[in-house]
């Protein structure tokens, strides 16, 4: 499945300053592995030692928070847009 991933500024040092990258993956977990394959070192920023996404990072598939979907097991389809967004405050 070809998906587009939107990379937040702090991680663009891994992606040669690219704000968006295209990768093949059938789930969010697979996508994380695919990102590590293409951009070595990025996984340890995204996930803690147990492989869980860091709690201050939000991941959205087509604008939906994966916590409302199937978390890291959320399936991805061709053309999906995945965005990685650090948590922010406000109101």
């Amino acid at each position: 499945m070809a998906v587009q991933v939107l990379i937040p500024t702090p991680l663009q040092k891994f992606t040669n300053d690219e704000a968006s990258v295209d990768l093949e993956a059938a789930s969010v977990d697979e996508l994380l592995q695919a990102m590590e394959g293409r951009f070595p070192g990025i996984l340890s920023r995204l996930c803690d030692e147990s492989g869980k996404l860091r709690r201050f990072l939000n991941v959205y598939v087509n604008s939906e928070d994966i916590r409302f979907l199937n978390h890291q097991a959320t399936a991805l389809a061709d053309g999906d847009e995945v965005s990685i967004v650090p948590a922010v405050a406000g109101g």
Binding site: L6, A87, A89, G91
Partner: protein
């Protein structure tokens, strides 16, 4: 929504020639560098002349402690993505500040400027130092002995506590070289950012959910920013803004300026201490949206204790949410220290954040201080607004109604002791959310301009009032 494309199209977000962290400031902060840094910036030179007025040193990750320079950044990008926090030189603060110096300062948040992360002159629009009201009638109604209302519904210039955070954020934005400022907002923040940007002559583009109350939309548009009403809830607006912040290089008060922005809320802690006659209360109740305000009131109390301005004492922290958006209250009730995001559905739109970034910290504070986090229904929120208005003459918006309703609930449940000195934080003004109560507050008696017409209407009014009292019992 109107879009002045010429404004955003022609205006570079930042001054040319400035890199992402334009001012070399003080480099990376390490604790062992503190004394070196302190002596460096006490040396006179054209740069350090400004720096010598500031008491903050840099940023640090709240989770892992990793240090960063004091630029426009908000997450721990080198390690764990935790939120960044401002680091101060408390020895320097202690040497400069006393109760007397504060009391001699301006009647705004800037009387506490040594505790705020700015270097030069502040943007002072009279923000802060709002009334702390001894609320005897509400206290009697609830069965409390010593209750105070901290009324930020009359904060300046836009009638909510957000003026505090925005005054700090925009001062810092200007120092960092931003010429366009922005925010993702549930309404109050948009009002405040647009107003203070107008005063400071900064370009402004703000983002709100498209279903906001009319008063909050008009109260932004009047300052002539570019206003984007996004079809979605606040969390979706925020996600979009994170992506805009990534690409446009603007100063987003609640995103890349967040470490500075959030510090403004500490002044709600300082002012209560000063207004109580330099003492801490026993218990505070505040609304929880992202959880930031709650944690910063705590930080404000802690800092005044640390520099010796107030005697240390235990203060219980209780938080208020609306049932229709209560991810923090739910986690607290279930004994969790992590937040499961929710999709908001409540009239309390100003606090409808389904994915609250500082939720885990708010839970931690409530637990550590022996406080509580509770949620109330929309009907209770409306009753809370009416109760505060009828007993104290303070007209608050839905967030304040939530706080009063939770205050009432906690007293009824025995979770606030009647003898505790308690402060309820009212964070916004009711005139901005009149829709919320329009159908719940009765209507005027329409009469002819004749005494007879008045007489009969007065008769009706009296019997209606008797009926109300009978139901109240």
């Amino acid at each position: 929504m109107r879009l002045d494309s010429w404004r955003t199209g022609s205006s570079p977000g930042r001054r040319q020639g400035l890199n992402q962290y334009p001012i070399p400031r003080l480099g990376y902060f390490h604790s062992h560098h503190l004394s070196l840094l302190a002596s460096t910036y006490r040396c006179a030179s054209s740069v350090t002349a400004i720096l010598s007025r500031s008491t903050f040193i840099g940023l640090r990750c709240k989770e892992c402690g990793h240090p960063y320079e004091a630029g426009a950044r908000h997450v721990c990008e080198d390690v764990c993505f935790g939120p960044l926090e401002v680091v101060y030189d408390y020895d320097a603060i202690r040497s400069r500040v006393s109760r007397a110096t504060i009391e001699a300062g301006p009647t705004s948040i800037w009387r506490y400027r040594e505790f705020l992360p700015i270097e030069g002159d502040p943007i002072d629009v009279g923000t802060g130092f709002t009334p702390l009201l001894r609320a005897n009638r509400l206290a009697r109604r609830l069965g409390l002995k010593e209750l105070y209302i901290k009324n930020d519904g009359v904060n300046m210039p836009t009638l909510s506590f957000k003026d505090r955070v925005v005054s700090v954020a925009l001062t810092r934005a200007r120092e960092l070289g931003f010429t366009t400022v922005s925010c993702a907002s549930t309404g109050n923040l948009a009002n405040s950012t647009a107003a203070i940007a107008a005063h400071a002559g900064l370009e402004c583009c703000v983002f709100i959910p498209s279903d906001l109350e009319l008063g909050k939309v008009l109260g932004t548009l009047v300052y002539n920013p570019t206003l984007m009403a996004v079809k979605g809830n606040y969390d979706q607006v925020n996600r979009l803004c994170s992506e805009v912040a990534n690409t446009y290089g603007w100063g987003f008060v609640n995103i890349n300026l967040r470490p500075y922005y959030s510090e403004g809320s500490k002044t709600l802690g300082y002012e209560v201490i000063e207004q109580l006659g330099w003492r801490l209360p026993d218990h505070i109740v505040a609304p929880l949206a992202s959880g930031s305000l709650f944690t910063k009131i705590r930080k404000g109390f802690d800092e005044f204790i640390k520099v010796g301005l107030v005697e240390e004492k235990a203060v219980r922290f209780s938080g208020a949410q609306a049932e229709g958006c209560s991810p923090i209250a739910q986690a607290f009730a279930e004994g969790r220290d992590f937040i499961t995001p929710v999709k908001p559905h409540t009239i309390a739109k100003s606090i409808a954040i389904g994915n609250p970034a500082d939720g885990p910290y708010a839970i931690d504070i409530a637990n550590r201080t022996g406080g509580n986090i509770a949620a109330v229904s929309d009907a209770e929120i409306i009753e809370g607004i009416k109760l505060l208005a009828e007993t104290e003459g303070v007209f608050t918006e839905t967030a304040g109604g939530t706080t009063i309703a939770v205050l009432k609930k906690l007293v009824e449940q025995g979770k606030i002791d009647p003898s505790e000195s308690t402060v309820a934080y009212i964070t916004g003004n009711g005139l901005k959310t009149t829709e919320a109560i329009a159908s719940s507050i009765g209507e005027p008696f329409v009469i002819e301009a004749q005494l007879a017409s008045f007489n009969s209407a007065w008769e009706r009014a009296q019997s209606l009032q008797r009926a109300t009292w009978e139901t109240v019992g």
